[in-house]
């Protein structure tokens, strides 16, 4: 009983040591999931030391030592695998061997075996895909419990004289089995708690980072401006809780929020040498209490004494900085430092994305201009030819057609980025239709049916014309018999629909120039009204092709 009591005492010292070990950076690797080569060496050294310590904290009994030596090898095995377990066990065992006594060899051997047992448990859990159980205290308890029973067996088998071994085991078996198992379990629970704490902190800061990412995403679409900088600073300030936040471009402060806002005024040029250095050398600068502390160059009574300056860049060009400040009486948290750097990286990526989006839009615009500039020469010359022919028979109609032709071309020259009303779009389409009607006078019927309440609906300029032209190019002009072109505008379920239909029923699946034109129109509609709007195409071969434009009505209220 006394042995059990004294061993519990020893084990307690041992657990305190374990606690200290866990808090030190030496054992931080234990808490990480992936064990790297360098961590294996740490693991070996620390647990070997623990094993030896266990021997020294032991209680001498009958020329032997009742001890907690096994905890080191068993845990090393469970955490690091059979190799490390055996190595630790061997080291602890070797040490015990040289201390002498009639159990010197059996104890040395059994410690090595115990390390290997821990390793087997590791392998078992790993192969069963239950590696999360590695850090369970129960597992450590059972493993150490069994390992100690094995040790007792080895002592009985190997130690001579046998009678002495029996006496020894009778005395030490119970206390050693219990104290080692309990020690291993306690130790493991300390490691697990430490690990959970790290995980929790990680989770909190990733949650913060995600929240910031989510909230900033929309702000940065238009790049960094004075307005977006203020919005951004506000988000970072509330999410991190630092003293103050500043955002600068390369020359001046764009936004400053928090303590010291009275003298750090947006629009003023950058004064701090830290910021200048961060911009010039494109590097993160951290200045906190100590030698390199931050001294506000603007006001002597500025409370800020520590600062983190992170450059923002697009590709490799620095375009500004984000700065986090803390006042004299508040420590600059390591977490906020990492978070600050992460935010800057995230924002840089978002800015790159914003620039990419902008260039993509420019590309669409220029493609559209190109499309518009390509006036179909067949249309132009055939129209003129028709008008000349009509001049011989009907001068008044000829005049009307020329006015339609000039209206059509005038509308074509309108800038592509603009918006139009449906009425304006239909005006151009009407001019076009009047001319086509004249060209195919004998075999074309046109049917236009527009809900007049939709005439004020706004849509991108040059939406309908390419679609109508397409219907003529691939539909009407490809039919030998009577051709029909229908244009219909109506409302349904909160949407405005414009249908353009021909009775040819020729649908080109492959990518033609015109398919590209429809795609551009579709992209512009979706860009303006969201992805539910846009263009859909239906085709019944030899009967009809119908192109439908879908525009939300609620977006029209504004």
């Amino acid at each position: 009983m006394e042995i059990l009591f004294r061993m519990t005492q020893a084990m307690s010292v041992f657990v305190v040591v374990a606690y200290i070990c866990c808090k030190s950076p030496l054992l931080r690797s234990l808490t990480a999931d992936a064990v790297r080569a360098r961590d294996r060496v740490y693991l070996y050294l620390v647990f070997s030391a623990l094993s030896i310590l266990g021997t020294y904290l032991g209680v001498p009994v009958h020329d032997a030592i009742a001890n907690t030596r096994a905890i080191g090898p068993v845990l090393a095995g469970i955490i690091g695998g059979p190799l490390i377990g055996t190595a630790v066990g061997f080291t602890g065992g070797l040490h015990r061997y040289f201390l002498g006594g009639f159990t010197a060899f059996s104890c040395g051997l059994s410690t090595t075996v115990e390390g290997a047992i821990g390793g087997m448990v590791h392998l078992y859990l790993y192969r069963r895909n239950r590696s999360e159980r590695i850090f369970a205290p129960e597992v450590a308890f059972i493993t150490a419990f069994c390992a100690e029973i094995v040790q007792m067996g080895i002592i009985l088998l190997v130690s001579r004289p046998f009678a002495n071994a029996v006496t020894l085991v009778e005395v030490i078996a119970l206390p050693m089995i219990l104290s080692n198992a309990a020690g291993a379990a306690l130790f493991m629970s300390i490691i697990r708690d430490q690990k959970n704490t790290v995980d929790r902190i990680g989770a909190v800061s990733s949650a913060k980072a995600f929240k910031i990412a989510e909230r900033t995403l929309n702000i940065l679409v238009r790049g960094i401006t004075a307005e977006s900088a203020v919005a951004l600073a506000k988000i970072i300030h509330t999410e991190t809780g630092v003293g103050s936040v500043a955002i600068t471009d390369k020359e001046k402060i764009l936004a400053f929020l928090g303590q010291g806002a009275d003298h750090h005024i947006p629009g003023n040029p950058i004064a701090s040498s830290f910021t200048k250095e961060a911009i010039a050398e494109n590097k993160v600068i951290f200045a906190a209490d100590g030698k390199e502390r931050y001294v506000c160059p603007l006001a002597a009574d500025c409370p800020m004494t520590s600062v983190l300056v992170v450059p923002l860049h697009i590709d490799n060009d620095v375009i500004g900085t984000i700065q986090l400040f803390e006042p004299r009486n508040k420590r600059f948290l390591n977490m906020n430092k990492t978070l600050g750097e992460g935010i800057a990286r995230l924002l840089s990526n978002q800015l790159l994305l914003a620039r990419y989006e902008m260039q993509k839009n420019l590309l669409v615009q220029s493609e559209l201009k190109l499309l518009q500039a390509q006036v179909n020469p067949h249309f132009l010359f055939n129209s003129l030819n028709t008008i000349i022919a009509i001049l011989r028979i009907d001068a008044a109609r000829c005049k009307d057609l020329l006015i339609h032709l000039s209206n059509f071309f005038r509308k074509n020259l309108k800038r592509a980025g603009d918006l139009s009303t449906l009425a304006e779009e239909l005006d151009q389409v009407n001019s076009y239709l009047q001319i086509e009607k004249a060209r195919f006078d004998d075999r074309l019927a046109i049917d236009v049916d527009i809900d007049p309440s939709l005439l004020k609906v706004i849509l991108p300029t040059f939406t309908l014309q390419p679609l109508v032209e397409n219907a003529f190019k691939h539909g009407i002009s490809q039919t030998m018999g009577q051709a029909v072109a229908r244009i219909k505008a109506f409302r349904a379920d909160g949407w405005a629909f414009v249908e353009i239909e021909d009775n040819a029923g020729i649908f080109h699946e492959k990518e033609t120039d015109d398919g590209h034109g429809i795609k551009i129109v579709d992209r512009r509609l979706k860009g303006l009204f969201g992805s539910d709007s846009g263009i859909s195409i239906a085709c019944v071969p030899h009967e009809l092709t119908r192109v439908t434009v879908k525009i939300p009505l609620e977006a029209q209220a504004a």
């Binding site: 030819n385 000349i388 022919a389 004998d442 002009s477």
Partner: protein, 236 residues
């Protein structure tokens, strides 16, 4: 006076051309056609000396039309088009001239001179023409386009040329001679063409005659003269 046929899918373009041709005093306008099918009929009926032909037309364009006209009926060809992207091709196709719409009076006068010189030489034009990818057929007032690969056989009778495919039998304006030269169909009889890819069996009869059974079970006669050719082609 030259007999002219105007082919254009636009009504006023045809009228304008007719007026201008009349103004030269050199032409009698034998007809005006709105598409290639009408043109084929008119060419056979009217035997014009010259074709004023638009390139861009529905279903069968001007170039394709030339590939469907029998060589002995082939008139001189003047392309009339709105845009000059086809000029080079037109001359490669042996066109006599190439006019741009709207047509200028002075330019048309030059065409007249060219035509007169050509007729003085007395040569008929020859157009290489593309292989026929689709055979235009009439089916109750509608135009059906049949790919030569679908055709089982073609027969000619007093009522005209008929294309037979699994979907049925269709009348076409094309002649056997054109179909034989511009599609892969083989002559097996004076009045029949056969698609060799859709032959099921060849039944030999007495007197060097034979019948061909097509994949859908039609029987097509093979005459003595063409059996020899067919044997050479199929190695039997």
């Amino acid at each position: 006076m030259m007999r002219a046929l105007i082919v254009d899918d636009e009504v006023y373009a045809r009228q304008e051309m007719e007026t201008m041709l009349a103004e030269t005093g050199e032409f009698i306008v034998a007809g005006k056609c709105a598409n290639a099918l009408e043109a084929m009929q008119a060419i056979r009926k009217e035997r014009p000396d010259v074709l004023f032909l638009d390139v861009q037309m529905p279903v069968i364009n001007g170039f394709e039309l030339l590939g469907m006209i029998d060589t002995e009926a082939m008139p001189q060809v003047v392309f009339v088009t709105a845009y000059d992207e086809y000029a080079l091709k037109a001359f490669e196709e042996n066109a006599l001239d190439y006019l741009l719409k709207p047509v200028e009076k002075g330019r048309l006068a030059k065409t007249v001179e060219k035509l007169k010189r050509r007729f003085a030489e007395g040569k008929r034009p020859v157009f290489a023409g593309p292989a026929i990818q689709k055979i235009p057929c009439l089916q109750s007032g509608k135009i059906k386009l049949i790919s030569p690969a679908e055709v089982e056989y073609v027969r000619s009778s007093e009522t005209g040329v008929h294309v037979v495919c699994p979907a049925g039998e269709f009348f076409t304006e094309l002649t056997l001679q054109i179909l034989e030269t511009r599609t892969g169909l083989l002559r097996c009889h004076k009045q029949y063409l056969i698609n060799i890819d859709l032959v099921d069996e060849i039944i030999l009869r007495e007197n060097m005659l034979a019948d061909i059974k097509t994949k859908s079970g039609h029987l097509v006669p093979v005459s003595r003269r063409y059996l020899r050719v067919l044997r050479g082609r199929l190695n039997f």
